[in-house]
Symmetry: C2
Subunit: 247 residues, 2 copies
Amino acid sequence: MRIFKHSNGKYFASLTLNVLFAIAGIIFIAHKGGIPYLMQKLNLASDPNSAANSRENYYRHRTSLFKLLPNSPNQIVFLGDSLTDSAEWRELLGNPHIINRGIYGDTTTSLLNRIEVVVEGKPRQIFLLIGINDIHREIPLKFIVENYQQILATIREKSPETDVVVQSVLPINNQEFTRTMSNETVRELNGQIKALAEQFSYRYIDLFSKFADHRQQLNPKYTEDGVHLNGEGYLNWKEQIVPYLQE
Amino acid sequence: MRIFKHSNGKYFASLTLNVLFAIAGIIFIAHKGGIPYLMQKLNLASDPNSAANSRENYYRHRTSLFKLLPNSPNQIVFLGDSLTDSAEWRELLGNPHIINRGIYGDTTTSLLNRIEVVVEGKPRQIFLLIGINDIHREIPLKFIVENYQQILATIREKSPETDVVVQSVLPINNQEFTRTMSNETVRELNGQIKALAEQFSYRYIDLFSKFADHRQQLNPKYTEDGVHLNGEGYLNWKEQIVPYLQE
């Protein structure tokens, strides 16, 4: 319990502040609309705009679209989470075979659930980047790596000709931005992803070091929020992957 | 004040419930981490994951990417909010000239702020759909229409050769889903958008009636959340716009 970590004086000051704030909070909440407002804000009600629900709905919308899009030969798939989803890869890289199969908020678990649809098209290449949302959700590393292994195993089994390019997870910036993830964890995960790539004889790109500054933080010139990328960030990414891209 | 609308009995029952809930709330919040937790949940702190901040950051990331992407002749631009952003238009329509310039959360105000970058490329066609986020934010109709008029005027001025296809706002579904917007407002806005299209001699597509069921609600077969579209929804959209699409 916290109480033992503080001197009594500090504890009572903190307690008083908490009580005062709680009273202000009650007035504020009552003013805003009472219990329904609180329920909605705390995501206890089934609010379609809540982060969790809107992520889930987005996943359903995107995957149902992906199932209906036609497969064509020689497709180059950019596969992953919001970092993949947000870019316009075909325009950025000037290659007409590129398609985007990113989904905002995707984890190794949800990507594994949709990998079959991706490999059905027997794509020529897959550029894979996934993992930061797992870390954000504090999924144990062992579990993330097991999922990752299964993703690669499924691609190998169902589409053995596909050239998979495994990309490291990017650093995050938790100094200039309020972010709970740790770059230590990102580096640990990347070590395991690299080992998996070797195990499957897939090529591995270390994006981490190309996006990190001297503090090993995501370089602030590439981001507005410490995780996602601006145009400069995507230009940097492009530079790293052009040598791996098939014509 | 609400107190006068209730009988005294109802008022005291409601008051008691509110107080009980507030106490439970205080215990819950203290348990979760006290003031910082409350601040974060109520979006009072600068939380990069808050809906407003993440929308703003996403807008900055996307627009800075758009500025860096090369223009090429004969581009067909899909321009709008999340409904445009979430699809893979080039694949859906099988046309290599199509590019996606959708931004999740976009309003007529924020689209007007980035229209110059779009018209710089002197695209062959623009498929425009914008307005539902303005309605969600309860922007007065007069203001939305003024923005819309300015968007069209800017395109006409800076890229007079561009064939603009103005699309109606889609219905929403506030019966199966918790949505605050009204289809009455959507229809009012669509009437004004149609008038603007005529004024500029741009073609207008009535998507509303093609997505509405007999109740004038967004047909639930097209959506998981009452606003956004699944694959079936995009196939329906495709059917409506194919006759307007240039080769």
